[in-house]
Amino acid sequence: MIKITIGLLEWMETLSDSNLTAANREKWDKYFGYSVNPKYRVVILDDDKERWLVVGNIKTGKVNYHLIEN
């Protein structure tokens, strides 16, 4: 399984919202694609620690977060 990591702040900027820029849309699609693919693990880093696992839902087009315990 390939681990894809992204910082919390960068992740927040990437999330889709009403002011989504084209660059962010591309980034979101990329990470969302990883998050629904069982070959990848998308992990959000906070203070360089792995904090959340991002799990995408292809039906809703949204993501859920799972806290990574120490």
Binding site: M12, S16, W52, Y65
Partner: protein, 411 residues
Amino acid sequence: MKEILSVVKNIESDFKSENEKLNSYLELGSSYFAGNELHKALSLFEKAIEDDPKNSGGWIGKAITHLAMTEVAEINTINIQDYIERSIKHTDESIIKKYLEAITLHYGYQFASAIKLYIDQTNQALAEKKEAQVAAVVGLATAVAGGAIANKSKSFTGTFIGYSMLAGGAGVTLKKGYDSFTLDQLSKSLYGNALAQAIISVPTMQSCYQIYQNSHGDLKENVEVILDSWKDSVIFLFTNEKIIFLKLVDELRDTDKFLDTEKRVAVQNKIDEILYFMDMIGLDESADFEQVKQLKIVIISFAEDFTKAKIEAIVNRRKKTQTGCGIVATAVMMVIYFMDNAKIFENKSPIPGLILIVGAILIYRYYSKKRKKINDASGMSDVHSNINQITSEFQKISIEKHAIDLKSLGI
């Protein structure tokens, strides 16, 4: 009890929006909250508010995180009313209710803990006999109460459970004072801090009791712990108040002290403090409350019946008797001294000693009779007998936990 606030974990699902960024802020904020990383949780809830101020999730998350970050001793200084108002504005009552309940219960728990903390601090200072420390602990009382009142002074009308304590709670409790009772007075009281905290926590306890009545299972048990802890503290404080009060009243049995206006005013102030406290904790319908009120009436009617001139006349008569007896006692001692010098008595004779003892007894008996006569004639004896009767009744008062009726808390 921190789990009371764990309701935060539902924020993302309760306040879900079409805005995925906002949903993530709420979910990650809740996640930080669960991990006790409260500063980070706060920053994410604030970002959620920035992103969409009309979504209640960010506001309620911010309110609860602030509350969770507040230490027990600082519970009166926190102001989350604005955040709650904003969260209520944009959401349905049924959704927000459980968050308001959680906030109320957390407040209740913190208040109960704060009262205990102040009692412990005072006990410790007393045990260590550090007078300056006792004074410092006691002196904080007005600040404790003042902080709470400043926070709750805004007029505010809410209909939700748990809202009453934010609806100017302490202000409500202070509407109807007892003549001389002021919060400043508490700063002079031993355990004043704890007393102030107990008084201002009453509206919150009323709300907690409402929640208790409507809850089941674990929640009911948790609320019961909060209410029981509060009752324990209140009983401890009442017992202390009673001891201090009885000491003060005991001094009034001495006519000289009773005639001293300052002493009487001190007792009257203490009575007001006790009456206020009893009223707040729901004992205003009890027979004990009536006893204390009776004592207050005795002291007040004394001030009405006994004019300044009359008191001065009694004081003068008592002084005259005292001086007269003093002169006679001195004269007796001088006579014995001269007789002894003139060698009238044999060496080592017991007679001078006996004369001295008999003389002292006779003078004391005369002095007591005369003093009683003055007291009877002036009406002071009746006042004393009233005080004795009432205080002996008051001494018997002891509050049991079940006697504290949470339904009739507050004035």
